[in-house]
């Protein structure tokens, strides 16, 4: 096995590291990206899609904040405002965080477990190339006669069934396609991790990023089909005379919420678990220590995923559930804080007595640690059923989930991009710009989202274009923060593009504290890596070294 090299037809047409250039040969260039079966190419595609959608969804957020800068319907119609909140949510969840995480998985998992590629490379291509079509359908709703979907990203019945505009049907099929893409992608990731680990890469030697993705993939397979069923019922109620969500026919709109949140709650772990994985890679590297309590990190991840299936109705405390239901979902939700707390404790303890340096990836990881925890705390507040009666549908909820998603998932993605960009491109990114990007983002996201806590506690409802006068000050502060946060993301784009084009050579291992197998490969890695698996000694020695 030691000296075998690949002898298949891949070597004839796709093995060269020289790729067609866009300007010299645009057709060949396009063909490479459209037909590729290479995990690195597909990872790149996912990441670019996510970045583009980040600016699309971000522009929508800017419109929302511009409208909310002052009370009164000033800049956009309420109708357009509702479309913006809906599409902003759908795009950020399905178009930014999920593709970005899948892109990271594509790039990193094979390199980190010593696999030659993903387990099912053609299927991998399909998982990605469904997405542009799905988003074409979703975004086309903005240009249809009649409004785009305008009932919030949760598309509750009957807003989406009886009262939904015609474009709702296009949103439904777009979600079908997004779900199919996620399911196929998850199948691939799970098969890769189970079946393609190099000899010696046992379960308990797997990097945390790989562990978190394994569990995320399982969650995707469990809940995306439920979402598909849920949107199918919406479509059926709209067009085929069914009454799933219509009490006139014996159905119940609350059933919609149960189905949606059975998907929706595990979905938030789908968005955050890979970020946990990234942070678990970055913090040890820049603390120059092994991850503290690796085993407990794995168990905590499994526990979070398991509990995530039985807490969904904490989104529904005000729907008139029986009291036993309220208590059940309240206590179980609070239980989630335990494994999450284990994780935060372990990250902090990893840093304890480490020789820490603060390069950009570490800054984002630390920002994650502090601010995700703030989002976690407001989550505990929301989990209290009686208190939730006050918070339900206010800006407090908006503040809460933006704290877990922006400095949580998004910062996790950014940490990962800065961390692995030198590996992917072979160049160091510009550290000054990276730090500027971090500080502007970290400061102004707090300016944006922290006042929303106060607004919510004072009673400002979410998803409205106009508000009472007493909310004006905090809204103005939030809007200013949002504009600066939005603008500073352009720095991110600049850093990435510059890093791809030029920069100091990164060397195989730009971070001296890094441990994973990916750092044994050249930067940038050749088109195909680990065609011969790394020797088991390479994997086992690392563990021995750590003691």
């Amino acid at each position: 096995m030691t000296d075998t090299t690949l002898n298949h037809d891949i070597n004839h047409d796709a093995h060269h590291d020289e790729h067609p250039r866009l300007l010299k040969n645009p057709l060949k260039w396009a063909a490479r990206w459209v037909f590729t079966t290479n995990h690195k190419d597909i990872g790149t595609l996912y990441l670019w899609l996510a970045l583009i959608m980040f600016f699309v969804g971000g522009a929508m957020a800017m419109i929302i904040r511009a409208e909310l800068f002052q009370p009164g319907a000033r800049i956009v119609d309420p109708e357009l405002f509702n479309q913006m909140t809906t599409l902003h949510g759908l795009i950020m969840v399905f178009g930014v965080v999920m593709p970005a995480m899948t892109g990271l998985a594509n790039w990193q998992i094979p390199m980190m477990i010593g696999a030659p590629d993903m387990a099912l490379p053609r299927l991998n291509n399909w998982s990605f190339w469904i997405l542009p079509f799905a988003f074409a359908i979703l975004i086309s709703t903005l240009f249809m006669s009649g409004p785009a979907p305008d009932f919030g990203w949760t598309f509750y019945a009957p807003l989406s069934t009886v009262y939904g505009p015609p474009s709702t049907d296009f949103m439904v099929v777009s979600i079908h396609l997004l779900g199919l893409s996620s399911i196929l992608g998850a199948i691939n990731i799970i098969a890769t991790i189970i079946n393609l680990r190099a000899p010696g890469m046992t379960w308990m030697r797997m990097p945390m990023f790989v562990w978190t993705w394994l569990i995320t993939a399982f969650l995707l397979l469990a809940v995306m089909p439920v979402l598909a069923g849920c949107v199918t019922m919406v479509l059926a109620d709209r067009h085929f005379g069914t009454s799933f969500f219509n009490p006139a026919g014996g159905g119940d709109p609350i059933l919609f919420q149960h189905l949606f949140w059975f998907f929706g709650h595990p979905e938030v772990y789908i968005l955050i678990l890979p970020a946990f994985g990234v942070v678990s890679e970055v913090i040890p590297t820049f603390s120059r220590k092994r991850l503290f309590g690796y085993h407990f990190m794995v168990y905590a991840t499994v526990a979070i995923a398991a509990v995530s299936f039985i807490v969904w109705a904490h989104h529904m405390f005000t729907t008139g559930m029986p009291i036993a239901g309220e208590l059940f979902f309240m206590y179980l939700t609070m239980l989630v804080a335990v494994p999450t707390g284990v994780k935060v404790f372990n990250w902090v303890t990893t840093m304890f007595r480490g020789s820490i340096t603060f390069e950009t990836p570490m800054l984002f990881a630390l920002g994650f640690l502090v601010m995700f925890t703030i989002g976690g705390f407001s989550g505990v507040m929301l989990s209290l059923a009686p208190a939730d009666y006050q918070y339900q549908d206010t800006y407090f909820v908006v503040a809460h989930f933006h704290y877990v998603l922006v400095p949580g998932s998004i910062f996790g993605i950014m940490a990962a991009v800065y961390y692995w960009l030198p590996k992917w491109t072979g160049h160091m990114y510009n550290e000054t710009l990276g730090k500027l990007h971090f500080w502007l983002s970290a400061i102004f996201l707090n300016v944006t989202f922290f006042p929303m806590h106060f607004l919510g506690l004072a009673g400002m409802p979410r998803r409205i274009p106009d508000y009472a006068l007493q909310f004006a000050d905090f809204n103005q502060i939030a809007s200013i923060g949002a504009f600066i946060f939005g603008l500073s993301q352009i720095i991110f784009l600049v850093v990435i593009v510059r890093c791809i084009l030029k920069g100091k050579p990164a060397g195989d291992k730009p971070w001296d504290g890094a441990e994973g197998l990916e750092w044994d490969l050249p930067s940038p890695p050749p088109y195909h890596t680990w065609m011969t698996p790394p020797s088991p000694a390479l994997i086992i020695d690392r563990e021995a070294e750590a003691g």
């Binding site: 459209v34 079509f133 439904v172 995306m224 059926a236 119940d252 149960h258």
Partner: protein, 292 residues
């Protein structure tokens, strides 16, 4: 060919099939909704999409069959396929759980609450005071909007027969599998042919049952929550039986071409797993939709 084992994992060259598949899915979805909205090109686009999808599946699977025949796939590749198929079936199970969930919710909570039971004198109850918690629901809360069925399917008629048919087909496919393992081609092909025949027979009975429901019993998709859950569950199951039967036919043809041997028959096993999955879903349907 089977001695052509390499220790390295087979990586396919760039492929155009996935993008063809994406174009197909886009045409199907975009066409279907435009069709629903009465846009003239809708049904053409939908049909075109279906045609492209079949073309894609034929092309993609042919490529895989060819590669397999050339011995490119080692045991590790085989395991990837197996894991892939297993997790795909798991996702299908979860899809059906959504619809079973809707059924259980309606029966345990939704309908009783609408009827004002379990201490819930909701305002809904005040609107429709005559509504009673009876399953099957013959009289909907608003009978003007949703006309209830006159009667529902008799459990021990066609549904019981269909149960027998599907269970038997589970046996025949296993007999075929044994034939394959014993290199007994005759047993393999007869077993597969019987399975296909039983699949088609099941679909015929199901179609007959639907006709009866619509024509004689007034049981329709639009006859309230009973019709909704009945047709969505049996309908999606029927769709899966149809897909399964098509897959069985493909496998039968491939058996006749001698594509499989004792060691290499992943496609056969994948389809038989799928068929057993469809079988189990039916058993649950029989118990919870038709019987209880």
């Amino acid at each position: 060919m089977s001695d052509h084992h390499t220790s390295s994992y087979y990586l396919p060259s760039p492929s155009h099939w996935p993008i063809v598949g994406s174009i197909a899915l886009f045409s199907i979805m975009f066409g279907a909704i435009n069709w629903l909205h009465g846009v003239p090109f809708g049904h053409y686009l939908f049909a075109l999409g279906l045609a492209i999808l079949f073309f894609m599946m034929f092309g993609w699977f042919s490529t895989v069959v060819k590669e397999s025949g050339r011995g490119y796939y080692d045991n590790q590749v085989d395991r990837s396929f197996r894991w892939g198929m297993s997790w795909f079936i798991f996702s299908e199970v979860m899809f059906f759980s959504a619809f079973f969930g809707a059924l259980f919710y309606a029966r345990v909570w939704g309908v009783p609450w609408l009827a004002g039971e379990k201490g819930y004198d909701t305002n809904v109850y005040l609107i429709w005071q005559n509504f009673k918690d009876v399953w099957p629901v013959f009289h909907n809360p608003n009978p003007g909007l949703f006309v209830g069925p006159q009667s529902v399917m008799y459990t021990w008629g066609i549904p019981a027969l269909n149960t027998l048919i599907l269970l038997t087909s589970g046996v025949t496919i296993t007999i075929a599998h044994w034939g394959l393992l014993k290199n007994n081609r005759k047993q393999l092909i007869i077993g597969m042919a019987l399975t296909v025949a039983l699949g088609i027979l099941f679909l015929y009975c199901q179609a007959h049952e639907y006709m009866e429901a619509y024509m004689d019993k007034g049981l329709k998709l639009s006859s309230g929550i009973y019709g909704t859950t009945f047709f969505s569950l049996t309908g999606f199951h029927g769709l899966h039986v149809t897909i399964g039967t098509i897959m069985l036919i493909v496998i039968l043809v491939r058996c006749c071409f001698g594509h499989f041997d004792k060691e290499h028959h992943f496609a056969f096993e994948a389809v038989s797993w799928y068929w057993h999955f469809v079988d189990v879903v039916w058993l649950l349907l029989f118990v919870f939709v038709y019987w209880l």
